[in-house]
């Protein structure tokens, strides 16, 4: 049976709420859900069943979650401010990276002279910019349909029914 994403998220939130982080103790992989169904953007493609537990064995928390899990950030651009940032109350991607991007609110925020993060990707950008380079490096699937199959709406969008079809591999 597939666990609905909301249940998984709720479980994760309960789990996090139930164990207040001790000072100096970073979050680790066991604090996270095993599987996350990424479906908030799914329209042209099927939702992605993301095995979080599997990815915790292939990457460090900070490779995806930046400084929010309390792991020391070594990226020179993040280090300037987040060298000693403790684990944050918000760890989930979509709580920082918005589903809607480049709408008037975000466009206005980019002009704020007091804001450093003027160039924060939206949720779709954050996923792809983070996942694809690593998938390419580790020879994991990196074409579109390697991670998510097209829906009927997606097939119509990409005009899959067009004649003169050539190779479909990226």
């Amino acid at each position: 049976m597939r666990t609905p994403p909301r249940t998984v998220l709720a479980a994760a939130v309960l789990l996090l709420a139930g164990t207040p982080p001790l000072p100096g103790l970073a979050l680790d992989q066991y604090d996270a859900p095993e599987t996350v169904v990424i479906d908030s953007l799914a329209r042209l493609y099927q939702p992605v069943r993301f095995s979080h537990i599997r990815h915790t064995k292939l990457a460090r928390c900070k490779d995806c979650h930046h400084h929010t899990t309390g792991q020391e950030d070594t990226d020179s651009n993040c280090f300037r401010c987040h060298a000693y940032s403790p684990e944050a109350s918000i760890v989930s991607c979509k709580d920082c990276h918005t589903g809607k991007q480049f709408y008037p609110e975000q466009v206005a925020a980019a002009g704020n002279p007091n804001l450093y993060h003027i160039d924060k990707p939206g949720l779709k950008g954050a996923y792809h910019l983070n996942c694809i380079p690593c998938h390419v490096k580790k020879n994991a699937p990196s074409g579109c349909e390697g991670c998510h199959a097209l829906t009927d709406a997606g097939r119509a969008f990409f005009r899959v029914d067009s004649k003169n079809r050539g190779s479909a591999t990226p």
Binding site: I132, E145, R159, S162
Partner: protein, 309 residues
């Protein structure tokens, strides 16, 4: 026969008058040259280091602009190998935007470049159009009005990026076909263009042009090894709304790096400034010279006639 004015004086006078008129027109020209775009104009920053060549932008454009069905589906990547007369794919009446692949020697992965109208701050197409079919809107789009267009296609030649194309396929409704920044359907509502919204990699960043320049500089500053230290379009052709960042030299990714850093308009406006003067002042001026030159002759004729009577 003595005349009031000889040919030499006549020409000298004409030239002096032309020069005077040119000088008197000069202030208006200086004003045009200092136009730096509408303050809140929007733009798009295209980051070539992010593009993976998925062609989602092409599909989104096709849908949004209700363009004809493509020859091949948008998830068919064999199009990157196509060459038409030895050239990579270009925009045409069926597609306002095209992504091409560039295999650059020494780079592990190819680069992909999306082309579309760059929506210049001072568009050459607009300048070249003698019926004013083009408008640069305060939102940043360069839009086209097919109702006034006479189909001369001068804009296609004027564009330094070779973007406007002609709908040759329609005998009764021919018109220029080009990207309009989704002006009617999205830009006027504060929404990003369809291609930007479709891009999974956020290789396309939509925002106020001035903010995008800041963002582009920040990306280069924070990751100097990942980019060439240049934003293509910040100054090219006098500045464009669509700008590019590239990890490889721009000429290797198919960009025309010989595009001048000032508006194309600057190359022709000295000449264009004289045209109305020649058409309006010269006829009256030379008619006056003619009348003056022949006045004495006429007077003599009149006197002679009177003497005979």
């Amino acid at each position: 026969m003595p005349t009031l004015i000889d040919r030499r004086r006549f020409l000298r006078g004409g030239l002096l008058a032309s020069a005077a008129a040119t000088v008197s027109l000069a202030p208006a020209q200086t004003e045009a040259a200092s136009f730096e775009g509408y303050p809140n104009a929007m733009g798009v920053l295209v980051d070539l280091s992010r593009c993976v060549g998925c062609r989602s932008c092409e599909a989104a454009c096709n849908k949004e602009q209700q363009l004809p069905a493509p020859e091949k589906p948008f998830n068919d990547f064999s199009v990157f190998d196509e060459l038409h007369h030895g050239q990579k794919r270009r925009t045409d009446e069926t597609r306002y935007t095209v992504v091409n692949r560039y295999d650059i020697p020494g780079r592990e992965h190819p680069l992909f470049r999306k082309i579309q109208c760059n929506h210049c701050q001072e568009p050459a197409c607009l300048t070249s159009c003698f019926v004013n079919a083009y408008t640069k809107t305060p939102e940043g789009a360069v839009v086209y009005d097919p109702d006034v267009c006479v189909g001369c296609r001068t804009c296609m030649i004027a564009c330094p990026f070779l973007i406007p194309t002609f709908r040759y396929s329609s005998a009764f409704k021919p018109r220029i076909m080009k990207c309009v920044f989704c002006y009617d359907t999205r830009l006027t509502k504060g929404l990003p263009p369809a291609c930007v919204e479709a891009c999974p990699q956020e290789a396309l960043t939509f925002g106020r042009r001035s903010d995008l320049v800041t963002m582009g500089r920040q990306r280069i500053r924070e990751n100097p090894s990942a980019y060439v230290d240049h934003i293509y379009g910040e100054h090219e052709a006098g500045g464009t709304a669509w700008m590019y960042l590239s990890p490889a030299p721009f000429d290797q990714a198919g960009f025309d790096t010989s595009v001048p850093k000032e508006p194309i308009l600057n190359y022709v406006k000295d000449f264009l400034g004289i045209v109305p003067m020649v058409l309006t002042i010269w006829p009256a001026l030379f008619a006056g010279f003619h009348l003056l030159a022949h006045r004495k002759e006429k007077m003599q004729q009149v006197n002679k006639n009177e003497g005979e009577v």
